[in-house]
Symmetry: C2
Subunit: 353 residues, 2 copies
């Protein structure tokens, strides 16, 4: 079914508010989830909400916490997330990084014990909108096997980078796994075989059976290099945030345990001369206009696809599985009311600038 | 032929010194080149030296320059490389970053107009040896096509990350291209066909003919994600250093033009508690000991292979093509003398700690 961002935002905010989430925090968490839907990344969208709500209901997530932070040094902020909502803790930290980077030029936050950040692009876009370069890393449960290995030892360890230009910023947001576990689940649900090389089963054997892969391990992307990046992110986050390493991480995929993964956010004041910003956007346009390998498939720059899908979704709404929409409505603790009776969020409008 | 690090270091230092390179700078540049040989990366070893010497002879490289730097903000150093030797300019910047990061916790240097850095692992290992996390990016000539594209628009844009642990640090050093152009040249020299998917010819068509690929473009590693990382590094360096974008970069592969690529170095004070450092090294050991996909091929952690090769090379010497060794000796401007008459470098010994 197709729904609009307004309707979905209102429902999400209401579900969160009913569980004691302050209005501003509920609006932010709702925006992060709905933005993922608008950009065509449902794996980081509304399907994450039932788990967040269950975590609140079970006391594993503190909806009013925004984290306790201190500057370990002039430009490094350490954040104890206090089991708060991931976006709330991270945006609070980002606010401090921006203030500090105005004088230091670069500032880093290391966060532990907050909940799932959602789509990392959200944060680096926020940084780039303020004229800075953004880099974000996040750790997760062990789902990925080492290159040359067979068992899950690494998180999917996503990374995001945004660089502002005179035009739209470059926005990269990718995991270091070949595919997401969500995609493996989709294949399993549809009974389709996985492409070779994607996954191994619980015993470490290569498998194209998605149902078996769900209990095994996903390959890293890009062979030894992607594995190298994933394990470097794994160590970097744990070293800076004091968070758990993948085999001990819990709480991003379940509603049973406190969340102990870590996140690292970096803000760099680009301070580019105007002609440099122009050169960057002109270069990206040249890349876009360059000959493509497939007819009718123009060359893209990271972030192009998401931006196109967002534009389309804002006009036409986005698809959501009817079961998920029904599940979300069943989680409404108040007398069911039409989502359209809520005031549309102003935050999403504010972001369009 | 097999040669020792002592013999090669002495010759390299002499060739550089004969062209006006101050003794300390010559020792550093020699160490960086010979370290690459010791670690089994000849593409970043002695074969780079004739080009460096030719660049000096033609006035494209200033052997006595170490760069002019200023702090653009408290923790961001901007370096005009003054066409100095890459390692000299970078190590001078690193020295300043280490001093600054003691109070700021993180510090970044953006370098333009210095020469080729050589193997990036050198720098991040240096950072990790001081208990800090190191990240280094470098840009280069356009050799890599976009994912979904056919023409060379990106540099090979290598990145390196080192994270200190209670044991040996994790040391990742990789380009964002599928393979190096050096490897394409090796295939061309031996007449072997390239694996499919590695490269395209000058017209943008897929090719397995290495001789044609030399004039075309290499694929990015890891599909869209590796391309994304490569183009993000491309923009990040240009934005921070004001250096040229790949299509305009010259001077790392030729002896005809001033070098206008850029480098970014980041030092982060890890400040990990001792138990965190222990957890990191224990985790890496668990990964190494985990079941491997190929019998007799144990799972490795980034840097393991280089460290093993280095240990072996220090004992047994390393291979060098007789033609290259003869070429290097022919570049000796003084009466030929036995390399063994030079004092062995003390710097390499110092690094072993």
């Amino acid at each position: 079914m197709q729904i609009s961002n307004w309707g979905s935002l209102a429902l999400v905010r209401s579900l969160l508010a009913q569980r004691g989430t302050p209005e501003r925090y509920a609006a932010l968490q709702a925006d992060v989830l709905v933005e993922a839907e608008l950009k065509g990344h449902p794996s980081h969208g509304l399907q994450r909400l039932p788990r967040l709500l269950a975590r609140m209901d079970r006391g594993l997530l503190n909806p009013s916490a925004s984290g306790q932070s201190h500057w370990r040094s002039d430009a490094v902020l350490v954040v104890e997330g206090e089991q708060g909502l991931g976006p709330v803790v991270a945006m609070q930290a980002l606010h401090q990084l921006h203030q500090r980077a105005a004088s230091t030029g670069i500032a880093l936050a290391a966060i532990r014990n907050s909940n799932h950040l959602g789509m990392l692009a959200w944060y680096v876009e926020h940084i780039a909108a303020r004229g800075c370069i953004g880099i974000v890393f996040s750790s997760s449960e062990a789902l990925v096997h080492p290159h040359g290995g067979t068992r899950a030892f690494l998180g999917t360890n996503p990374f995001a980078i945004a660089v502002p230009t005179a035009g739209r910023p470059l926005v990269l947001d990718a995991s270091t796994s070949m595919v997401s576990m969500g995609k493996i689940h989709h294949y399993a649900a549809s009974g389709r075989p996985l492409p070779e090389g994607w996954a191994r089963d619980r015993e470490g054997h290569p498998t194209t059976d998605a149902a078996r892969a769900m209990h095994g391990a996903i390959a890293p992307f890009g062979g030894a290099k992607g594995y190298g990046l994933g394990i470097a992110i794994e160590l970097l986050i744990a070293a800076l945030a004091g968070s758990a390493l993948a085999p001990n991480v819990r709480g991003t995929l379940d509603a049973d345990a406190l969340c102990n993964k870590g996140d690292v956010l970096v803000v760099i004041d680009a301070a580019s001369a105007p002609d440099v910003s122009q050169q960057l956007s002109a270069y990206l346009d040249t890349v876009r206009d360059s000959p493509s390998s497939e007819p009718d498939c123009p060359v893209r720059v990271p972030g192009d696809g998401a931006a196109q899908r967002r534009t389309h979704s804002l006009k036409s709404g986005f698809d959501i599985a009817p079961q998920l929409w029904a599940e979300l409505q069943s989680l409404d603790l108040q007398t069911p009311s039409s989502p359209s009776s809520f005031t549309p969020a102003s935050i999403l409008e504010g972001q369009k600038q």
